[in-house]
Symmetry: D2
Subunit: 139 residues, 4 copies
């Protein structure tokens, strides 16, 4: 299973008065890449939510290596760093599409909650999702 | 009943690469002013939502008169232009607090929906809210 | 010259607690469509800025017809409603890609400013841009 | 020198379809708290920028402890964790104003750049700013 990097075109409204992308937007791009990843493996996040499961962000970190400008296209590659059905850790690399230069690296950790806000194990509540993450983790 | 203008401090993340506030943020400030208005009249929007009523934006318009910069404080005054319990029209004036200069004028129209997405009349479902809007409209 | 509609995938961070896209985001999508249009006609906005010309939004309006949800793809078509080199008026239609249903219509007007903030005529400062807009307007 | 916690009222547009504040907004609140801190010590960020110095975010991290809802007021306290004039590390605690409950902790690191994008030492280019940070750090 090969996961293609996610592409994002930098929008004007994502810039700030420094003339570069505001740092908070990278956190949003990580989310875009996660959503895209789940679509690539045919398990859209909407489906998870439709079963009453949400996957909130427990922590996030971001290291800004280079600046990104309006009009740039960035490629975001995502890796499953750790996954046991209860906790998910993802890592991200944001690169400029044209030059391949690294712009930012990041990491997010997640848990799974049911509709009452109780922790659940994806292995139990959505075994298909669990298997997909496991497969991607092993790569 | 006097409604005090709502004050907003312009944040760095609200600017764009032109060095001024991105135009989409004024639409958000209108929302901030609406929420503040409802608090001033002791009828917070949370309470309306808790009764299963939402008040979505049906249309919005904004005329940009002057530029707003990081660090500026803007005062947003709100008027009830039209209200019949079913449709609400508000207008806004955004002024620089220090100079009093006009930055932007706007207008938004709203309806009321119940949890099934059906139109409702505020007069019937929340008469107290209805009365408050009516009073403010008459001013 | 045919302008293809601009496609936008709705992101999770664009939703609000109503469970639908926050109304302020449509204003940002209009900007995305404008930027895309300028790329389609080979005159990216970056090039205009590089010549010291900016094209700020003078007014914007938006009429919300239907709701848009996370994961939806919207198609935004843009028309040049009026253009004389000094003032530009664009209109937008946002439709759901899958169903073709109308979600929102909008309109924005713009002017052109040089680096000192002085109004300029695109006909004089960037005749190529002027010609493109004129051609698109006539369609 | 006592730094008062920064207060932020949670806006509707900051929520997402989970019904809580979208995680990316906390990163923006950290920025609000930084800007407020610099004002409290009479050294607004605008002044730094006016001297041609910017202070970009080099890294940021955020640990989400509890959920924040529309209408909540959060208090953000900021600490100077490390500062040598070249590198600045700040930490943040976001608490619910009413209950005092912790919502989120965070950390950001920063450097100083001049107009050419060259690293500078605040000790050399803005000794007054340097002294203030040093004083706050020692507390």
């Amino acid at each position: 299973m090969t996961i293609a990097p996610y592409e994002h075109k930098v929008q004007y409204y994502e810039t700030d008065k420094m003339g570069i992308v505001h740092h908070s937007n990278y956190i949003r791009w990580f989310e875009e890449a996660r959503v895209d990843f789940l679509e690539q493996v045919n398990m859209p996040y909407e489906d998870l939510e439709a079963r009453g499961i949400i996957c909130p962000v427990v922590s996030v970190q971001c290291k800004y290596v280079g600046m990104t400008h309006f009009g740039d296209i960035v490629c975001i590659s995502l890796k499953v760093e750790e996954f046991n059905g209860i906790r998910l850790i993802l890592s991200y690399e944001v690169k400029d599409k044209r030059t391949g230069e690294l712009r930012c690296t990041g990491r997010s950790s997640h848990c799974y909650l049911d509709e009452k806000g109780k922790f659940v194990s994806l292995k139990q509540v959505c075994p298909e999702y669990y298997e997909v993450y496991k497969q991607v983790e092993e790569q």
